[in-house]
Symmetry: C2
Subunit: 319 residues, 2 copies
């Protein structure tokens, strides 16, 4: 049985061409075990399909006549446009016709679908979305939350630490990932009210390998693999880091490491803590981003990340 | 009457030599209107003094036999070491013998002295410390709070905006400085509970030129001159930015703009909101940092920044 991954072909500024290129790149890497379900306007998809040559057994098309545009109100659009690529994608995922759903379309609609169609897993207080962190050795770390939860409680951060650890282990391939709490000051007891209250929870959490507080200067280092913070700080850091890439380009600096600050190439990090794999991409995703998102979805399914998360939180609930 | 600036000669990892070099550099720029009060162990100061040749009328030495070391407990040390350079510096400032006090020594002791010897100005809820932000056109912006106040209320941020504006106008020389609220999302209503509640206060504040929300990607741009946030986010950003400089150096990238990410060269930003000018420097301050702190103190005195802050907050209290 092939792994079935659903991809919104209408999502993102360069859809469907860049999405198609991403699918092509994915198959060129030899992933014949996967079957891509291409969701979108069939005539447009077929038109672009003619330029590519991946095997017919590896894909199918699900026609979705409408599209939720970037500016539309998420809840309203998702409700009213039942025939849109995003609504159909969520429906396919909900009913088990696909095992993961990817879209670079309307972020709000993707969030709403994740939370209200796919739903939060039992035992999870708040799902989270992280961001990759490029390190100088070529590896990636993960920071979460990257903006989904602007205000958090200590329990939320404690759960993000577990979600991030499982992601780092199974998707990034890091054994016993080190978890750092983003803080101002290294010693226990330092920080704001939130981090002061979070520290003891992380310290006593047996599901993670907690290494203590980390500071802003450590975020781009290998000091930790999983960096935990609330979504306000996380989002400011992410966008600040993105702006470093812009400056580097503007100043005509060519450097392999800083090239990896181009966050658009990574594609999205999955929504962690919901019942099934969903990946939300950047609006300006290009082929590489789409390819990377398909790979991440593929890996999530193969490693059964969602099942592992479910088991971890079942343990906590029992204990 | 000469401007009298007190400088702790024992503060910082490279004291007193780098402090002395900073004094020398300051006078080499022709600042004969200033009189530097050099506070510290007189024999050590005299020993280094022999290598320099600034006019005798431009400095005097106040002997302070002891030093508050970097690792000492701030409150305890300041109380017990009355004969330390920091304690004497605060005493001189309090009694009007100097008009500003600068130290790169024990940061905690400098904070305690600022708050409990010099004291918070009437009408100010919480004093703040900012950080400079290098921009590509060579100018500097200011971000505050940079870590002094980890948890803040909307009223605190509203006051930081006024303090930052006055600093930007009189010290950085920016006419009608633009104030941006660091947030996640540009539209009013976006953000966490704190920024959502702060936005309307800034909007109605006639003492500032509020331009709305700014995001992480805008912090290094000229979109605003004064960037306002609580001290947790501010500190994480500052240290993250510092780490960019480390990476740039490590990767042997030579770039004029990124060279300005070496925050050590700026020296400290004054503690804003206390009754008299105090500047706290980075522990690893070198000559340029000391020179810049002396210049900032000089400019604070000349422009009567403290008096201007007092007047602004008197207006608010009356209205």
């Amino acid at each position: 049985m092939m792994i079935r991954i659903g991809l919104d072909m209408m999502g993102g500024d360069y859809a469907p061409l860049e999405a198609m290129k991403g699918v092509d790149a994915f198959f060129r890497e030899g992933n014949s075990h996967a079957h891509l379900v291409l969701i979108g306007r069939e005539p447009e998809i077929r038109e672009h399909l003619s330029s590519f040559s991946f095997p017919e057994t590896n894909y199918s098309i699900i026609h979705a006549p409408s599209v939720i545009e970037m500016h539309e109100h998420p809840t309203k659009a998702l409700k009213e446009k039942q025939d849109s690529s995003i609504a159909i994608g969520f429906h396919l995922l909900e009913t088990g016709k696909i095992e993961a759903f990817i879209s670079a379309g309307n972020t709000g609609a993707m969030m709403v679908g994740s939370l209200f169609v796919i739903k939060t897993m039992e035992g999870i207080l708040r799902p989270t979305i992280g961001t990759y962190l490029p390190r100088e050795d070529g590896s990636l770390g993960v920071l979460l939350d990257a903006g989904m939860n602007a205000d958090c409680k200590p329990e939320n951060l404690n759960q993000f630490a577990v979600l991030g650890s499982l992601f780092a282990e199974h998707i990034l391939g890091i054994q016993q990932p080190k978890v750092g709490l983003i803080n101002i000051g290294e010693e226990e007891g330092k920080g704001n009210l939130l981090t002061q209250a979070t520290y003891p929870l992380l310290k006593e959490n047996n599901l993670i390998h907690f290494i203590g507080n980390v500071e802003g200067r450590d975020i781009l280092l290998n000091k930790a693999d999983v960096f935990v913070c609330e979504g306000f700080t996380g989002n400011v850091i992410l966008k600040f880091a993105e702006s470093i890439y812009d400056i580097v380009k503007r100043r005509n600096i060519h450097d392999e490491h800083f090239d990896r600050f181009n966050f658009e190439t990574y594609g999205g990090v999955p929504v962690l803590g919901i019942s099934k794999p969903v990946i939300i991409g950047h609006g300006i995703s290009h082929a590489t981003a789409f390819k990377n998102m398909i790979r991440t979805a593929d890996r999530m399914i193969k490693t059964d990340l969602t099942g592992r998360i479910r088991n971890s939180f079942a343990e906590i609930t029992q204990s």
